[in-house]
């Protein structure tokens, strides 16, 4: 990878008058569009797209080869199951089984595409909106929903599934990923870290510190921004004046790309390239996916206060699942029987989740003291004894 000024630019002169001027001043011919995205820092002027919204394929491109059809069928399967999971989780909030649920409906291509682009031994750094990605990664959905059910914070063992706890403080995981990825490299392992973050979180300082640390230490991290257009209610225009969020990489010397986040084929193609770039030792890569949060921020939010239905409808027409299904059907890679089988699997998955979430979880008040330190301090031992006595007294009262 080079970072010479010539390598930095990759823009059509039509959309980049400044770049055109710079090229003229240097009296160098405008470089041909590079085929290796690692060789340039700026994203392409338009998001990478490999199939149209109706599933029609676009001309093949050398920079982002289409993933194998088997991978696309798997992508489809997991997206369908993922959406069914998401719908079920929202339903569980209405039944009082979850305290809250932030849906990622409409973002299935990103949720699942990210997971499919990495290995099981790679690390994923999710936010609270990535429940779908986590179940798609094979983590037990009950463990994924522990946080939102409220019987503990993180329900899964991060070290067993190479997945950090879902991060609620925005963008803080960007720096953790840089450290983890660098630490893995330091110990001779070729682990890649994949960070999911949203558009709002790119305004947080830790996003910048994370990308910068990863760049300086050449840590193998893919920063994957799902630009779903809203940070709760605040629109993208209040987060940035940049042409797009992918442009934030250039300032850190990090190659970046933007992709149509509702084009599952393009998302997987771009992320596959980004992960390969990181794993090859070229340092971090920033990907921005343009997508849309179809549901409110959470079930507790009222999205009608800040966006109108017509806007949501335009995104309904760009549904990533219908898009991939149409494409695979046209290719002869998916038929009615396969679609029905996936739908059936999704229903069974939801039914199992529903049934398991209907069981009231057991919580143990004395466990509050278990994991504050490796060994409780004398003060915690005292407090535990106090709580134990309170519980014993309450139990005795109940007995009378």
């Amino acid at each position: 990878m080079t970072t010479t000024p010539q390598a930095v630019r990759r823009a059509s002169p039509r959309t980049r008058p400044a770049a055109k001027k710079a090229a003229k001043a240097a009296k160098a011919p405008a470089p041909e569009p590079a085929t290796d995205p690692s060789a340039v820092l700026l994203p392409q002027a338009e998001p990478v797209r490999l199939i149209e919204a109706d599933g029609t394929p676009l001309p093949a491109r050398a920079d982002y080869p289409e993933p194998p059809v088997e991978a696309l069928r798997e992508l489809y399967r997991r997206m369908v199951v993922g959406r069914r999971f998401d719908t079920q989780a929202t339903a569980l909030t209405k039944q009082g089984r979850l305290a809250v649920y932030p849906s990622s409906r409409g973002q299935e291509a990103c949720q699942v595409g990210g997971v499919l682009a990495v290995r099981d031994t790679d690390w994923v750094f999710p936010t609270y909106r990535e429940s779908m990605a986590l179940v798609s990664r094979g983590i037990d959905p009950v463990e994924v929903l522990t946080l939102l059910r409220g019987d503990w914070h993180c329900g899964y063992d991060p070290t067993a599934v190479h997945t950090a706890p879902q991060c609620t403080p925005l963008a803080t995981q960007c720096v953790h990923a840089a450290g983890l990825a660098y630490g893995e490299t330091h110990q001779g392992r070729d682990t890649v870290a994949l960070v999911y973050i949203g558009d709002g979180a790119t305004s947080e300082g830790d996003f910048h510190e994370g990308v910068n640390f990863a760049a300086v230490f050449k840590a193998p991290v893919v920063y994957f921004v799902q630009n779903n257009k809203y940070a709760i209610s605040v629109p993208l225009s209040r987060q940035t004046a940049a042409p797009s969020l992918a442009y934030k990489g250039v300032g850190y010397g990090v190659p970046s790309e933007q992709v149509d986040g509702n084009d599952p084929v393009a998302v997987l193609a771009v992320l596959t390239r980004a992960v390969a770039h990181a794993r090859a030792g070229h340092g971090p890569f920033l990907v921005e996916a343009h997508t849309y949060r179809m549901e409110p921020h959470t079930n507790a939010d009222d999205a009608t206060r800040y966006r109108d239905g017509a806007e949501v409808d335009t995104w309904r027409d760009r549904d990533p699942i219908a898009r991939l299904e149409a494409y695979l059907r046209a290719r002869g890679a998916l038929d009615d029987a396969a679609v029905a089988a996936v739908a059936e699997e999704a229903e069974a998955y939801a039914a199992d989740l529903r049934q398991r979430m209907n069981a009231q979880p057991e919580v143990h008040p004395l466990s509050l003291f278990d994991h504050v330190y490796a060994e409780p301090t004398p003060q915690l031992v005292e407090q535990r004894e106090m709580v134990r006595a309170e519980l014993a007294a309450a139990a005795e009262e109940d007995g009378h």
Binding site: W152, G183, D206, A374
Partner: protein
């Protein structure tokens, strides 16, 4: 046995930890070639290479967050915050992740690390270089908070902090960096959770930590002229706190003054005073009193002398411990 400084003892502790354990990494701002602005990391990069001791971008949240990730990968990061007040950008990382990851994951994921913070004043530093920030960390469950006052403790506590399974905020009193003492390194002193009686006495207990310990010892010496025989307890580890040693001392003496350099309101000194009062009420001949810095932003260098608790303020406070069994006139309503 030879005379050495706290700075050299800290340096030796880092060097020995790096030599003993390949997982230990030392990093931060200016800690590499320069050896740190206080030279605590002097020579470490030359000896262990720039993969083990290195400079980072100038971003404290980044440094601590990077350490979280390194700890997740199985390494043992030791980071330096250049000055107390410059650690504040890292506070979210410390409070939300460093302190909580073990708890959030039911013990599945721990992030053992040491965050070294040169703290407190008395060195003529300009603003933002002299804060006593220990209470912020001590108020955060999941962190251990340690502060040495002697050369031997500096070495021993830092080695223990690096080996500890929990994250440790290691508060280094700047004004003691170049204090010198006979110390046989590698020293091993009392473990975490143990306060130490630095000077035995019968009449009252002075409880102090970090930069206030030498002040307490000096005051105890001076108090002999007033006829008071004062005991001095060095807290050493604010978290975990050694209630037993402190309370045993106060039960013996019946009087207690808690000394901290930090501003007093809602501080560690207040916590200690409350704990002593809860445990020793019937042994006390006088209310537990506090001597602390003033409740003001840390002052400019030419005024810091008035702010810092010194021997005179300590002795004035000891004088108010109701030696004549009369109520403190300060608290009697007019």
């Amino acid at each position: 046995m030879g005379a050495t400084t706290m700075a050299k003892a800290l340096n030796a502790a880092l060097a020995d930890a790096l030599a003993d354990d390949d997982r230990v990494l030392v990093f931060g701002e200016d800690v590499g070639r320069l050896g740190g602005v206080f030279r605590i990391t002097d020579g470490l990069q030359a000896r262990f290479g720039d993969k083990r001791c290195f400079d980072t971008p100038l971003a404290e949240a980044g440094i601590v967050g990077f350490a979280v990730g390194l700890a997740m990968s199985g390494l043992r990061p030791v980071v330096e915050m250049q000055f107390d007040a410059f650690a504040y950008p890292a506070f979210e990382q410390i409070a939300s992740h460093v302190a909580k990851l073990r708890n959030r994951t039911r013990g599945a994921l721990s992030v053992p690390m040491v965050i070294r913070v040169p703290y407190a004043g008395g060195i003529g530093g300009v603003e933002h270089h002299c804060d006593s920030s220990e209470a912020y960390y001590a108020h955060t469950p999941g962190l251990k908070v340690v502060t040495p006052a002697t050369v031997a403790d500096a070495y021993s506590l830092l080695r223990e902090a690096i080996a500890d399974p929990d994250p440790v905020v290691f508060m280094e009193p700047k004004k003691l960096y170049f204090s010198s003492a006979e110390a046989d390194l590698p020293a091993r002193t009392e473990p975490f959770g143990r306060a130490v009686v630095r000077r035995p006495g019968r009449d009252a207990t002075l409880v102090a930590y970090g930069p206030a310990v030498p002040v307490a010892l000096e005051a105890a010496e001076a108090a002999r002229d007033e006829g008071w025989d004062l005991e001095v307890v060095d807290v050493r580890t604010i978290v975990p706190f050694d209630d037993a040693t402190v309370a045993a001392s106060v039960r013996r003496t019946g009087r207690c003054v808690v000394i901290s350099e930090a501003q007093g309101f809602a501080g560690v000194g207040a916590e200690i005073a409350a704990r002593v009062q809860e445990r020793c009420f019937h042994a006390l001949h006088a209310p537990v009193l506090r001597v602390s810095g003033l409740d003001i932003p840390y002052p400019a260098p030419m005024l810091e002398h008035t702010h810092l608790p010194g021997v005179d303020r300590v002795l004035d406070t000891v004088a108010r411990l109701q030696w004549d069994d009369q109520p403190d006139p300060r608290w009697v309503a007019a």
